[in-house]
Symmetry: C2
Subunit: 190 residues, 2 copies
């Protein structure tokens, strides 16, 4: 990784990130690229109307299946305005959460590896969806977000701001949401 300071000059912990451990991981993946092939997994079960439930219990990485310390349970639903019971954030709100979380974590980790200290970090996200697309009222309106705006506020030296913006864009979710990726959908009979 193109860190500007040698590993010895970095604080062992910066922004809460164990820079020594991450640097060791980078070296290991550099030497054994096959260990870098991760697979993230999820099971979802529809409950009723707009309500469904996801369970995330394990993933594959560093050549092995790895259990999370506990399974994560996530509910989605639609608000009453969209005919649901509001038993969870809706899918497009969950997408904003994935994007906010990934931009944030990416900024924090990559800043730590470059010796940039962040004392506090908040964001607000807003995305525009014209429901005429989803509902099929107009074929000229796209179904997903037309635009997503992300506003970060960072407690750090002012000279770091432009750098942090660039680092946040190394985010895997930003990559997918801004560029798209291949999604293969199969439907079988239960």
């Amino acid at each position: 990784m193109a860190v500007e300071r040698s590993r010895e000059e970095l604080p062992k912990i910066l922004n809460g990130v164990d820079t020594e451990a991450v640097s060791r991981a980078v070296s290991a993946l550099n030497e054994n690229p096959e260990l870098a092939a991760f697979k993230f997994r999820l099971k979802n079960k529809w409950i009723d109307c707009g309500h469904n439930h996801s369970t995330i219990s394990e993933f594959h990485g560093t050549g092995q299946d790895i259990a999370h310390l506990k399974a994560f349970e996530l509910d989605s639903d639609e608000p009453p305005t969209l005919a649901g019971k509001d038993l969870g954030a809706n899918p497009v709100e969950h997408l904003l959460n994935a994007l906010a979380a990934c931009l944030t974590t990416t900024m924090v980790y990559h800043a730590a590896l470059r010796g940039i200290r962040i004392d506090a970090l908040e964001s607000e996200l807003e995305g525009d969806i014209d429901l005429r697309g989803f509902l099929g009222i107009s074929n000229e309106v796209r179904r997903g977000y037309q635009n997503i705006r992300v506003k970060f506020r960072v407690k750090t030296d002012a000279q770091n701001l432009a750098r942090l913006k660039a680092l946040s864009k190394l985010s895997p979710v930003f990559d997918v949401v801004s560029k798209g990726t291949s999604v293969d959908v199969q439907v079988e009979k239960m």
Copy 2:
């Protein structure tokens, strides 16, 4: 909306969806397109290392700001393998949740509006990420998912399966994840 049966022929509730209410909403948005301009919103706060927290409390739609029945709180973290404490699903797992939830809800709602009954619905998702992209070890490896596989199992008449697959792809999150969208990132000093 291109429903095949007239509104009168549809059951009032199908797949848990109030088809009368949704059909009324479609008519209202058809007559007043400005009501279809929704804005979904989220606030996120970094806590430490890979741990951050999102709050989703309101959105804009049908010409007004609308509060959720309660605020939804979501945590993200990285597993110990990725230098975190595993206090929540990680961002790319949250992305899979958004995609699973949206494909599911879209299939269920659009099936209801076409008179297709779904008795049960489950999915498993898996996505491939080569961490050499995120870590900057290789510039030739993309940072986000290279591919996402979605496997649905549906309890329904076998003749509905191909139709349900096509309907699921009307999903707003599928649209964004498969095609990408505009994301504007700003970083200001706190």
